[in-house]
């Protein structure tokens, strides 16, 4: 029944930023991992990626037996496609990718897809309505996947700003939503979000 944790970090059921809430002494749920002194920086020269059974496998060096790996963004807000840790299923870092651009073609595409598959954060294109009640806010938004409603607890703390114009939303369930550019929003939507900035 050993659960794995792709986040390589705490992953309480609440998820989101308030994930620490499952709090218990000693912080269980966080698997201890040793620093791996052999973790190497990889490029297309010394590593190879392939997909099998819907999972990502890596050979490093290139002629090694492919092993299943998990990707982890080290700076998920600032650099979604750079500073990527490649970990084994126990959460130990095997390799480090400084920039996805160091790979090309099919392999690069594979890495991008794998990252986007693990980090699911629909974009908010339009805000239909925001209702505020008892410190909770209820959002009704348009995403590329259709209309979605979600709930934020402690609204101000559940929205975080990365850079000038990017916003991240962390809802009560642990879902994430993004606004790539606040200024690109239509006026009505902008007015609705303004208050929380």
């Amino acid at each position: 029944m050993a659960p794995m944790n792709m986040m390589g970090g705490p992953g309480g059921p609440q998820g989101g930023r308030h994930g620490g809430g499952s709090g218990s002494p000693g912080g269980p749920g966080r698997k201890p991992t040793r620093e791996n002194p052999n973790s190497v920086q990889i490029t297309k020269e010394n590593a190879k990626f392939l997909m099998k059974n819907g999972f990502l496998y890596m050979s490093c060096p290139k002629d090694a037996e492919p092993a299943r790996v998990l990707l982890h963004r080290d700076f998920p807000f600032e650099f979604p496609f750079a500073y990527i840790s490649v970990m084994n299923t126990d959460g130990m870092e095997l390799a480090f990718i400084k920039d996805i651009a160091l790979f090309e073609g099919e392999e690069k595409e594979m890495l991008v897809r794998e990252l986007e598959r693990k980090y699911y954060s629909p974009k908010i294109l339009k805000i239909h309505s925001v209702k505020d009640r008892f410190g909770f806010s209820y959002w009704d938004v348009e995403t590329p996947a259709g209309r979605v409603t979600f709930t934020l607890q402690d609204t101000f703390k559940s929205i975080s700003r990365a850079g000038e114009n990017r916003l991240f939303f962390f809802d009560v369930d642990g879902n994430r939503f993004t606004i790539e550019d606040i200024d690109a929003l239509d006026r009505k939507s902008h007015k609705k979000i303004e208050l929380y900035l």
Binding site: N5, P25, R117, Y119, S121, F136
Partner: protein, 738 residues
């Protein structure tokens, strides 16, 4: 994208739609998922059915995967970010991805996987057991607040009001008295304008000879004075009854809440921060008091005032009354609009000031770091930035207020324009007198004040009800660790037996799996393993701080669930790595577990803990005051006091969780030896990373990844060349270097 949550019944029904021959008994686990497994942004309507012989996965109503359950070793849950995965590991070593879903389904899928694994491991169904209570309100489908099972959106206000009344009931006469006084005082307020009118009409504007009227004149003035005096006097009495009623209500409520929090298990308490709990005990109860003893009586007063003045108006002149009543909806609207705008601004300003306070707190508590890195200037700038943001919001509010306020005032005085117009006309026409004007103006004011109050009242109710809900949420919280009805008080001899115990702090992760351990009385068990492997969790379970998910723990052959908690814990001595000293003297702190301990007993315990020697060097000896953070005591000294506290009541079961970690090896050895002298009469379970700490252990238990990996004496485990051997060798390397 589907975010709604389905009930167990609905899931089962859907499963039967796919597999018509299916019965509830055959279902091992089911879950639905909503994301494409491969395509990062793709959506899918997926459904997984695990029966006692097969795993089948449907996507958009088509079967896409089917496998015999006998081929599967285990199911695994993986959390991504904003989404979760499920996969299964086949017995042939292949891993297959089963589903991907957004985080809203996280708990559902995690528990469904647990149920499936339970079946593979034990061969028995456990779906009902694992299927989580929904963390959404069944009524509106909205998620509950973290750690809460009450939906603020669907609060049954009536029920809450009734419960609130139950709390206030013992003081109902005081509250009634305050209400009556409120009403009486406002009625007195009605009298003054009448008297003023009388004064103006019959004396000031009258042409009757003054001599005859002088006495009467003084009489009216005296009456005005008297009403004023009575009104002030009664106000004082009312304030007095309010204070008494308020304090009694809040005291009562705080007592209930505090006692309840004390009874809750650690699992329930640690869901909330201590700041939040403090808020519930202090601020929320205070707000409830305000509502009960200030706002409710004021509401009644205002309604009554509105009615009385309104009726008076109608009786006197219905046309005038209509003129004044007509703009009231407009005024009410203006008020609620204004509150909407200002309310948001105030909230924002509050957030801003909270932010800059947090920064201040951060900087001050880290002042040593700031100083040692010489970053004072940078921190000053950081604070400056937040202070500036706060200033700007404040400025915005003030500016808006400066614009809105005169407008509001204009609305409030709206009625007076009508009076001016109507009464002025009437005076010119001779049907009214000048004095009427003043009286009507005062009454119009009296009519609009209640309106102002009433416009804001829904908000007050909402705020109060939020507090009421939060408070009752604590009061209603189920106690998950309760004494069984026939719970026994037993005299512990020290035999501990742990059978097939599994446990996880939350649904998705099992911290301990299938632990079996027998401890004989007087044994010294050393728990060894990397940090985070579940050692502390195991002793938490022995103390019954949490309830085991699977299996059982018994002491002297009695399941700990059948032992009363007080009896159990009072016979276990615990020393944790993080020591906590209460405000008080060293004596108070050592005697904490045994209030009537004699000085001799305390000294003996302190000696056994190696604390006596340093305590007697302190100027005030055992009477030395130590604060929450231990004041001037060093980490090791505080730890020795904590050990003395644990030893004082001579527990039959002693638990040491890294208890001597912050002591130097010399002192540790001293304490070890004194503990060893006493240890033949008690069972000891100790966790230590420094393996030398466990040199007296009769049995070592190596815990790795939540299971017992190795067990035996030091020599046996060294011979085994396993995990323990490696740990010992690594520590030897380290000490050689030192």
């Amino acid at each position: 994208m589907k975010l709604t949550k389905t009930t167990t019944g609905q899931l089962f029904d859907r499963a039967k739609k796919y597999q018509p021959q299916l019965t509830n008994e055959k279902i091992v686990s089911v879950w639905e998922y909503n994301l494409d497994k491969e395509e990062p942004r793709g959506l899918k309507d997926g459904f997984v059915i695990i029966t006692d012989d097969r795993l089948t996965v449907y996507e958009n109503d088509t079967e896409i995967l089917s496998d015999s359950l006998s081929n599967i070793k285990e199911f695994r849950f993986l959390s991504g970010v904003g989404c979760v995965f499920a996969e299964c590991i086949r017995k042939d070593g292949e891993t297959v991805l089963i589903s991907r879903a957004n985080a809203a389904l996280k708990n559902r899928i995690a528990t469904a996987i647990k149920a499936a694994n339970h079946y593979i491991l034990y061969g028995s169904h456990a779906f009902e057991k694992y299927f989580p209570a929904d963390n959404v309100c069944p009524k509106c489908g909205r998620a509950y607040r973290q750690g809460s099972e009450t939906c603020l959106n669907c609060i049954d206000t009536k029920r809450m009001a009734k419960r609130l009344w139950d709390v206030a009931k013992p003081y109902k006469w005081l509250i009634f008295a305050s209400m009556a006084l409120f009403v009486f005082i406002s009625l007195l307020g009605l009298v003054t304008p009448i008297l003023t009118r009388y004064l103006t009409n019959d004396f000031i504007l009258s042409d009757t000879p003054e001599t005859i009227r002088a006495l009467d004149y003084l009489g009216v003035i005296a009456l005005i004075l008297l009403t004023q005096l009575a009104s002030r006097g009664l106000s004082s009495i009312r304030n007095w009854t309010l204070v008494i009623a308020g304090n009694k209500v809040v005291h009562n409520l705080r007592g209930i809440v505090f006692e309840k929090i004390q009874r809750l298990s650690i699992a329930r308490i640690s869901k909330r921060t201590s700041g939040e709990l403090m808020n519930r005990v202090s601020s929320d109860t205070a707000r409830i008091r305000m509502f009960l003893v200030n706002q409710i009586p004021r509401l009644l007063e205002q309604i009554l005032l509105f009615l009385v003045v309104g009726i008076a108006f109608f009786v006197y002149d219905w046309r005038l009354a209509l003129l004044i009543i007509l703009p009231t909806p407009l005024i009410a609207l203006a008020f609620s609009l204004f509150r909407g705008i200002m309310g948001k601004l105030f909230r924002r300003s509050w957030e801003r000031s909270a932010q800059s306070n947090a920064v201040l707190h951060d900087i001050f508590s880290g002042i040593r770091v700031v100083k040692s890195y010489g970053t004072e200037h940078r921190e000053a700038q950081r604070f400056e930035a937040y202070a500036k943001a706060e200033k700007e919001t404040q400025l915005k509010i003030e500016t808006k207020w400066a614009w809105i306020n005169p407008l509001l005032q204009f609305f409030i005085s709206f009625g007076e324009f009508f009076i001016l117009f109507y009464v002025g006309n009437a005076i010119i026409g001779g049907t009214m007198e000048l004095a009427d004007m003043a009286m009507f103006s005062s009454y119009a004011g009296m009519l609009y004040t209640p309106l102002q109050f009433l416009a804001g009242f829904p908000r007050q109710i909402m705020m109060a009800m939020t507090s009421v809900t939060k408070v009752f949420e604590i009061i209603d919280e189920p106690e998950d660790i309760v004494d069984a009805k026939d719970a026994k008080d037993i005299e512990i001899k020290g035999e501990v037996s742990i059978k097939n115990v599994s446990f996880g702090y939350d649904e998705s992760v099992d911290v301990l799996r299938n632990i079996n351990l027998d401890i004989k009385p007087g044994e010294f068990i050393g728990l060894v393993g990397k940090s985070g492997t579940g050692k502390s969790t195991l002793i938490n379970l022995v103390m019954r701080m949490y309830e085991v998910d699977e299996g059982s723990i018994s002491i002297d052959g009695v399941d700990i669930r059948d032992i009363s908690q007080e009896s159990l814990r009072s016979q276990i001595g615990v020393v944790l790595q993080e020591t906590f000293l209460f405000n008080g003297s060293i004596y108070d702190n050592i005697a904490y577990a045994k209030k009537n301990a004699t000085r001799e007993e305390v000294i003996a315990a302190a000696k056994a803990a190696g604390a006596h020697s340093f305590i007697i060097k302190l100027t005030d000896g055992y009477d030395t005051y130590v604060g929450e953070k231990g004041g001037t005591l060093s980490g090791g000294e505080r730890q020795r006091i904590a050990i003395a506290r644990a030893l004082l009541h001579n527990p039959k079961l002693l638990i040491l969780d890294e208890a001597t970690a912050s002591l130097d090896t010399e002192t540790e050895k001293q304490i070890q030896d004194s503990l060893a002298k006493l240890s033949h009469e008690r069972t000891t379970i100790a966790i230590a990373h420094r393996l030398s700490t466990l040199r007296n252990a009769t049995k070592l238990v190596v815990i790795d990844k939540g299971t017992i990996a190795e067990m035996g004496t030091h020599d046996e485990l060294i011979e085994k060349h396993g995990i323990y051997y490696n740990l010992v060798m690594a520590q030897r390397e380290m000490s050689k270097m030192a």
